[in-house]
Assembly symmetry: C2
Homo-oligomer: 326 residues x 2
DNA sequence: GTGAAAGCGCTAACAA
DNA sequence: TTGTTAGCGCTTTCAC
């Protein structure tokens, strides 16, 4: 089944059938009717490979995440999918892995499909990767971070500000002996560093830092708190680099008999759906992941459709959601 | 940058350059060297749209999930991605939504890209969708279920057996007043029905069933248990249709002062990573989601590469992982 | 509003 | 082992 067959059935030229499908307003009502009928009768599905090749518009957008198992980006990916689907674009999802070895191969696989845009989520890209991306000429949106040297467009927030804000928040709540439990990815590292710097600037002792492997798990959180209890009994507040980690900390705190928030304040990161419904309800840093996805979609579609993107960098901000745990 | 340019630079015909890239063993060492050099010098990335159009092999596999926010399929999707990547295929992920309205549009978008295979995960497809899939001639793998009438290939397990097995398990543990908290999707419904049937067959009273909207959340689990406590104080065991739901039940049970497992046994479904590390550790039904993904990849690659698939249906089974909560 | 011709970048089939 | 020719299915351009 090709456009040719459909056109023949409708008694028009292929190009006319093409117009009936893609730009119906350019075609007479009569032709539209005949073509639509031929399409439904034959069950014709346009070959987007051919279309993409001819038009250099694939209507495909690629997104790269470290792993889809990381719940932090789910909201972003989901809203991105939806926002793109509404505008007739399809999302292709690639997993780079936190390690980064696969990153270049993945990038090549992606660029080879000539997507109309690429959304990078939460990964640190190699210099080689940057170069390829730039050379490809494909619109790129980096997300979940604010870098001084974006490849192209950017929608994110400042991890440094998050770290600072959380330290200040805990300080304001009267906490004096802070700790951090963080996954060993680069962004979490920046939050941690800023958190520690802010804490010492406030006159607090330097926070204990427990680093765990990314992706973070509940178990890592439990183990980390157990460590803190053993090594540094005086901790009275923990900032976790993910809500899952925080759930682990909460769990272990209960097991160890450390009352939250009385004995220990806990604050997570990501504000996953379950955070509000835990007992005690988990305080967390909320990132509007959905907004990030929607803005990324807008960026790319605007660019593809020839609209000028005035401001290529958007700071989406964050907020600290205060609940029982801190 | 096209293959033409690379070929010219290497001093060979385009088809020779193509062979150097795709089937290097068909080409002299000398040619291979020259072409490789030209590729690295130019940063050439093959256009897979063109390649796919010419060869009718896109090296793209599409997977459809209800939503990537549902953690149940993550393991499957992840192993699928990896198994495919190893063999040089790329995964395209589509979200159908639990509602199902978008399903046909999604299918069209997918078929239009002429993927080498389609993996269907946890969705119920319309008759229209089935027809299109069949008509497209693309290899299809349905997963996470066993249906008597598969579209093509199938790797899953019996939801009915799961329901039965869990009922028997709880009965064997001495539980007599069972309940179910389940998301309102079709598969969970089948587990629930089988669970109830098995319970009554064992001489137990008909289990209470609390249905919650899919996708399931921790909050739904809490609310459901609160309902059970209010309406049916005599419940002594709950089978939840997801681990998140079970976490909610566990949480609410603690709040309500129902000791787990003494007063209430709780068993989840999916055996997510966190299940083992909760307190109390959550018993759950384990599905080898990773195996499902790997088998699906094998199915598709075998088919694409012309190997005959002898047994088109694989029952991957399940197991009940016994931990503290039940 | 409709169509003819040409070509997007690549590979299958055949030939040398 | 290498090359020539033709064409995958569609859309662009230009003409009517």
């Amino acid at each position: 089944m090709t456009l040719h067959d459909v056109a023949k059935l409708a008694g028009v030229a292929p190009i006319t059938a093409s117009r009936a499908l893609n730009t119906p307003q350019q075609v007479s009502a009569e032709v539209l009717r005949k073509v639509s009928e031929a399409v439904t009768r034959t069950g014709y599905v346009p070959n987007r490979l051919a279309g993409g090749l001819a038009s250099t518009r694939s209507r495909l957008v690629a997104a790269v995440v470290p792993t889809i198992a990381g719940p932090v980006f789910l909201e972003t990916v989901q809203s991105l999918t939806e926002a793109l689907a509404e505008r007739g674009y399809q999302l292709m999802l690639g997993q780079a892995g936190y390690a980064g070895g696969r990153e270049d191969a993945l990038l090549e696989a992606i660029i080879g499909r000539r997507p109309d845009g690429i959304v990078l989520t939460g990964i640190l890209h190699s210099a080689e990767g940057r170069r390829r991306l730039l050379a490809s000429g494909i619109p790129v949106v980096e997300t979940w971070d604010l870098t001084p040297t974006p490849i192209d467009m950017l929608v994110g927030f400042s991890h440094v500000e998050v770290g600072r804000a959380v330290a200040r928040h805990l300080h304001a709540k009267g906490r004096r002996r802070l700790a951090v439990v963080a996954g060993d990815d680069e962004r979490a590292g920046r939050r941690t560093d800023a958190f520690c710097a802010a804490a010492t600037a406030l006159g607090l002792r330097r926070p204990r830092v427990v680093t765990v492997p990314a992706p973070t798990t509940l178990k890592s959180g439990r183990d980390a708190l157990a460590t803190l209890v053993r090594e540094a009994g005086e901790t009275d507040a923990v900032f976790c680099s993910s809500d899952l980690l925080a759930l682990g900390v909460l769990t272990e705190a209960r097991v160890q008999g450390w009352a939250v928030p009385q004995r220990l304040a806990v604050i997570g990161f990501g504000d996953l759906e379950f955070a509000a419904d835990l007992d005690p309800a988990l305080s967390s840093v909320r990132i509007q992941g959905g907004d990030i996805g929607r803005q990324a979609a807008r960026f790319i579609v605007d660019r593809v459709e020839g609209r000028e993107v005035a401001e290529k960098v958007v700071d989406i901000g964050f907020s600290i959601v205060e609940r029982q745990s801190a």
